[in-house]
Symmetry: C2
Subunit: 255 residues, 2 copies
DNA sequence: TGCGAGTTTATTATATTATGATACTTTGCA
DNA sequence: TGCAAAGTATCATAATATAATAAACTCGCA
């Protein structure tokens, strides 16, 4: 985010303030003023003013002793705002709850947003890791079953571009970072209708995902199910879980 | 939010932009420019510029044909940022999942934020209404079991002030709007250690909630369980559900 | 206990930036 | 077809945010 195009309809202060808000998250759940300056690359004085404004407006909390900031409940409220506005959340939620109970395993829904996926629904089980319970989590699409399931249904050129240019990040020692290999996996998914990924984001996790298609042939979301490796194998997942995940994904007609 | 105090450390544009973002939600999941002007009371040109900025930064989506705006996945991401930063979410999540499975009913956790509560965890069941599944939902504390459970543990003067001044809003024909009556309910909760509310926010809903206390004696959250009225009665809820909810709430030591 | 690096707060003059009135264009409805 | 309402664009003006500087803290370590 270097210098923004000079446009009279663009309010730079707002953009910077949002940059600060958006800097909070996975690697930086809470930050001091100095850290915010480092992470965002913004001017120190600007951070001071913007941070103060975010605090006064109740979007950031400030620990009175450590002086560190963290997102407030007002930020969490934006999740509710999103949920009310996205018709897919409403549509998918009941069936995913059913699926979660039927399978007894963690079930999720994700949407594609640029080169990554964002989880919009999560039905956890007792054995879910904390990161696996969080709605709004963003992961690179190429290294997730949900992402691959959706990419496999993109138009050929869009698919190629995704495979060749979208970012990769290793979350696990087993994360596949070879684009050729990923291309194969996506081909498999295109053929089978669902994607299976082993240990890409959480160790010992096996995930199956199937795309939810809009009437115009675009993938709009994915239904995904995660299980643990010692208990399951990729083969059993393919044989037992994939059909049910596929069924649910296909049951939505959206558009 | 009329004219803000003239402070050199306050960036008005950012505050206005946040006002716009925050205007989205339950009654207005998506809005046109004109609606935003109406709802926020901001100047039309300002809305135009700020909205454009929010759009360009990816916090708002714009339907190309209806020209209406709605919150994007980037907004949902802020919810994830909150979850990473709030230690209570991490602490409570596993036990609430267990409790939800054990009871077979919908279980929630809420925090107090000013005069209302915000749900931070929701474990739904098949029969949950959509509003009952949404994390980040905000409701007036006085008309919820979770709110009453927490208020019942406030210091006497804070409790009195809450009962007398915090806002009330009818969500149901049965919502109690009489502050005297609410004071009684909170007294009961103070004695029993948990609060039971019938049909306050959803028709035919019975809710039990118990406060989670910090070591310093402050209520920091509430564990809550909702069930449906024809299937349950307030008496059975008190006898069968309340003890388990209380147990879980008491099992957290925080602070 | 006291020194000093590293942070957080406070203060200013300056010009960049947001402002809001106005006019123009499109849309949707009768 | 035409009108009203909504969205888009433009622009001079002054208010507003800027970033440099200085003051007041913290906290670790000797």
């Amino acid at each position: 985010m270097p210098s923004k195009k000079q446009d009279t309809l663009f309010v730079a202060s707002l953009a910077k303030g949002l940059t600060i808000l958006h800097a909070f998250g996975q690697p930086n759940p809470e930050m001091s003023l100095a850290e915010i300056v480092r992470v965002t690359g913004l001017d120190k004085s600007a951070c001071q003013r913007l941070t103060n404004t975010l605090f006064r407006e109740g979007f950031l909390l400030k620990d009175p002793i450590t002086r560190r900031f963290r997102p407030s409940l007002k930020c969490l409220e934006m999740a509710a705002a999103y949920a009310w506005a996205d018709p897919l959340v409403r549509l998918m939620m009941p069936k995913l709850i059913d699926l979660g109970h039927a399978l007894g395993e963690r079930v999720n829904a994700a949407r594609l947003d640029g080169p990554d996926i964002v989880y919009i629904i999560r039905i956890p089980t007792q054995l879910t890791s904390f990161g696996g319970m969080i709605v709004g989590r963003r992961l690179p699409a190429l290294t997730t079953s949900a992402g691959r399931a959706m990419i496999s249904r993109l138009a050929p050129d869009a698919r190629r571009e995704a495979i060749e240019t979208w970012p990769l990040a290793a979350n696990t020692h087993a994360t596949e970072l070879d684009r050729g290999r990923i291309a194969e996996r996506i081909e498999e998914a295109a053929g089978a209708g669902f994607a299976v990924a082993v240990g890409q984001n959480i160790i010992n996790e096996i995930a199956v995902a199937a795309p939810v298609m809009a009437r115009d042939g675009t993938p709009v979301a994915a239904v995904q199910c995660s299980v643990s490796a010692p208990k399951w194998t990729a083969e059993r997942v393919t044989a037992e879980l994939a059909p049910q995940v596929l069924d649910v994904a296909n049951s939505f007609n959206f558009g």
